[in-house]
């Protein structure tokens, strides 16, 4: 009886006689997903109806997996320029979070020969690398570095379940992606081409003279450099495959090895340039040089970076600026990032990105489980699995999708709500003492305090009122705001677009 009364009262408070209205649904949704993902030009409407975000907050949110109010305060103390400079640095080898990651996940720091000796535990190595990735996304203070590592991890995607990829991926993450994430694109591309993970994943190890395997050659041009419309032909695919014949993995060192006996040493012609006969290993190196310096590569990589950090359909004016910087600096990654993060187009794109699961979970962890000593990797990977984004568990070579049209769906959104409820309702940081210590006297104050703490932005007046009234109706209190009310408000905030937009 009490439940019935409460439910009825809640509905009155919510102002909705039914939970949802089908005609409204139809009206909103018919034709409402215009983004087919084909190239640029989708017409997804940017979020315009939430209170504005100031430029520094926007920059901070976009340069990080996970942001707390303390992170924002620290950035404000530095100022916009100094904050960006600080984030364009790779982490120090003495950084305590990275040292902790090494201790937690020892398999991830083993040299290949040593890791190979532990061949009985591939699942453990795979699990450790995935947990380490989330751990650093949530708790590293080199947040932009982790975001950029994630970007290149997907750009040069290699899953680590099949064959010996569990082993090679450890090296790939550490000595290819992380080593070059803030370096020159050309060096990253070469390191990737010679990474045992890539050599195995895209079948370079099977690419031999007389019967070339096209897999790497095609994806190298389509996904790593020129883009599908970047101006290469089927003949180029075949010729590039010939150039990379003999690129393989040493059985002894588990590292790159050029096997001259398997190399097609004839003349090749790639993108209009002749590669003379007898070049051996330099054939492939020459191809990488041509591709790294090709204008289509500058444009394609810039477009993808802008999609990752600015908006699903980045403006051409921004891509042009970034591509020019890419060309002028021979692919200097921090220089291109700097142009992007200082552009007008970037600052105009507030609330234009929906957090992917890894970003959502990392952000949620940093905000609700600030004590990383209690990090529960297996539990969080289970949540990521239900959301479809276990790190490195994307099998095709194009990497996890980067548009909201993929992620903002009925399966993922429900998982976000459930993880929000789970972590908030079991959070200590929002306990009775915290509420009391926050000094709030009214539910409105409590909503404001929680919004500042968890979403670092003001709410729409209607949302503020809604949360306050829901807490009062669902969890009545005669003695001022309670911890239970705080959990209800916080859970809904974290389940809302305020939290899942970045």
């Amino acid at each position: 009886m009490e439940n019935m009364d409460r439910r009825r009262f809640l509905r009155i408070v919510g102002g909705t006689p039914a939970l949802f209205s089908w005609p409204l649904l139809s009206a909103c949704q018919e034709g409402g997903r215009p983004d087919t993902g084909l190239g640029s030009g989708g017409t997804v409407v940017a979020t315009a109806n939430l209170p504005a975000t100031d430029p520094l907050t926007h920059l901070v949110r976009r340069t990080r997996f996970a942001t707390t109010q303390a992170d924002l305060d620290a950035a404000q103390n530095l100022g916009l320029d100094a904050y960006l400079d600080s984030q364009l640095q790779a982490p120090s080898g003495l950084d305590v979070v990275y040292l902790e990651a090494n201790v937690r996940y020892p398999a991830t720091i083993l040299p290949p020969q040593v890791a190979a000796a532990f061949g009985a535990i591939p699942e453990q190595a795979t699990q450790q690398l995935a947990e380490r990735t989330l751990f650093l996304a949530a708790y590293s203070d080199s947040q932009l570095y982790e975001m950029v590592v994630d970007f290149w991890t997907n750009h040069f995607n290699v899953e680590n379940v099949t064959g010996e990829l569990w082993l090679h991926k450890l090296y790939d993450d550490r000595d290819v992606i992380r080593a070059h994430a803030f370096g020159k694109f050309g060096l990253l591309l070469l390191a990737s081409a010679q990474s045992p993970a890539m050599l195995e994943y895209l079948d370079s190890v099977n690419n031999v003279a007389g019967g070339p395997n096209e897999n790497y050659a095609r994806e190298l041009m389509e996904l790593h450099t020129l883009g599908v419309d970047g101006g290469y032909t089927e003949q180029d695919v075949r010729e590039v495959a010939r150039c990379f014949t003999g690129w393989s993995i040493s059985g002894a060192t588990r590292l790159f090895e050029f096997q001259a006996a398997n190399h097609d040493d004839g003349e090749k012609r790639v993108l209009g340039q002749t590669i003379p006969a007898g070049g051996g290993v330099t054939d492939g190196e020459r191809v990488l040089e041509i591709l790294a310096n090709h204008p289509s590569t500058a444009r394609f990589v810039s477009t993808k970076l802008a999609r990752r950090f600015v908006s699903d359909n980045p403006p051409a004016s921004l891509v042009n600026k970034m591509a020019a910087e890419f060309a002028n600096t021979q692919g200097d990654i921090p220089a291109v990032l700097r142009v992007m993060f200082r552009s007008d187009e970037f600052f105009a794109a507030t609330d234009d990105k929906f957090r992917r699961p890894l970003e959502f979970v990392a952000h949620l962890l940093r905000n609700t489980r600030n004590d990383h000593l209690g990090f529960d990797g297996p539990l969080m990977l289970e949540a990521l699995s239900r959301m479809g984004q276990i790190p490195h568990r994307w099998f095709p070579p194009d990497g996890f999708p980067d548009r909201s049209s993929h992620w903002l769906n009925t399966s993922v959104l429900l998982e976000y709500w459930n993880l929000a409820a789970n972590l908030i309702e079991n959070a200590d940081v929002l306990g009775r003492d915290a509420v009391a210590a926050s000094g709030v006297n009214s539910l409105d104050d409590l909503v404001d305090a929680l919004a500042e703490q968890l979403v670092q932005r003001p709410l729409r007046a209607s949302d503020r009122n809604l949360l306050s009234m829901l807490a009062a109706a669902a969890l009545p209190s005669a003695t001022g705001p309670t911890a239970e009310q705080a959990k209800l408000i916080a859970g809904l905030l974290v389940a809302s677009p305020y939290f899942s937009l970045r």
């Binding site: 087919t36 769906n409 399966s411």
Partner: protein, 398 residues
Amino acid sequence: MNNLHKNSSGDPVVVCVFLRGAVDGLNLIVPYGDPEYYNLRPSIAIAPPGESGGLPLPISLPLIGGSGQVALDLDGFFGLHPSLAPLEPLYSAGEFAAVQAAGYPGADRSHFSSQLSMEVAGNGGRAAGGWLGRYLSASAMSRKQVVRGISVGVALDQSLSGASSAIAVADSAGYALHTTSPEAWDIGLPPLHADVGFSFQGVQQQVFAGLELLAQARPADITTDPAATYPGNDLGNRLRQTAQYIKADMGIDVITLNSDGWDHHVSENAVLPGNLASLAQGLDALRTDLGAHWNRTVVVLMSEFGRTVDENASGGTDHGRANMMMVMGGPVNGGRVYGRWPGLAADKLDPTGDLAITTDYRTVLAEILSQHMGLAAADLGHVFPGFAPASTLGIIRR
């Protein structure tokens, strides 16, 4: 079990299975009658039927069918990969048809752009949503269920996008909201997602619609027929859920799911048989599990493009052009391989040296929608803009 949706019983259902990675159709629906097939694939070809099974020809086998595998005859020209044997009875019963040399003429050799353009089916241009999403919109006046389409997976497939009545559910058993304040969340979530852009509001409403429908119909409680043995992998799990949605008779008329891992650049002989056995086992289990519902179900299997007609040096095949499609279900006019066979001789291949496309894949899909799903002819142009079928296959029984 509630009876809310009983009036939809008998409604046609289409299930679209996308084989991601470009499955090697020449080794599934094997053109053993084309002698070039054996010249082009010395180590991975499937031997013609009759080369074993009581008439062992141990010496000639390696010569003409290097894979050591022997096709099951379909029609005297095409044979079925032996690992697809569980589907042979369906073919004999006239419930399984194949189409050879089908494809999308606008496909390139990129997995990603080809999958996308085939699912969008916008004839190379932009179109709102995908072909199944547009089907749902076009037929919304005659089928008013709030939820009609489900992608069994963690994302809505591109083919189903664009319709308010399509949702993605990875695991129907776990599709519930778990909070200690369910009433407050029920009331709080809609306004928090309203008018904030992207598709937050619509997706929130779809989640609620899905929660309500699944709580009522409880598809996860539908018992699997004990005679149906699904493979113990993701595909088996997705097919089992597919059967549950259909058997629950809950107004779902479109289901999409994916099978990954068909990009066999190397060692096809080692990998393909196991993948196919799992696929065939799953489809056979689906038929068994569906029972009488099989008579209102059409399952179509497609892939983004075919593979090279010749094998590469690593015992695999690279990206090609035309491929096969498979169509099965009670309403299918099966026991036939449809499509004009263009031939594998050098002068019969298309200019890039690949198997030529003789049937536009949309011909097959359009026929399923119009002949099976009852889509009005006038709406076909909306679902497949810029496309008019050049011919009729007759792949659905009238």
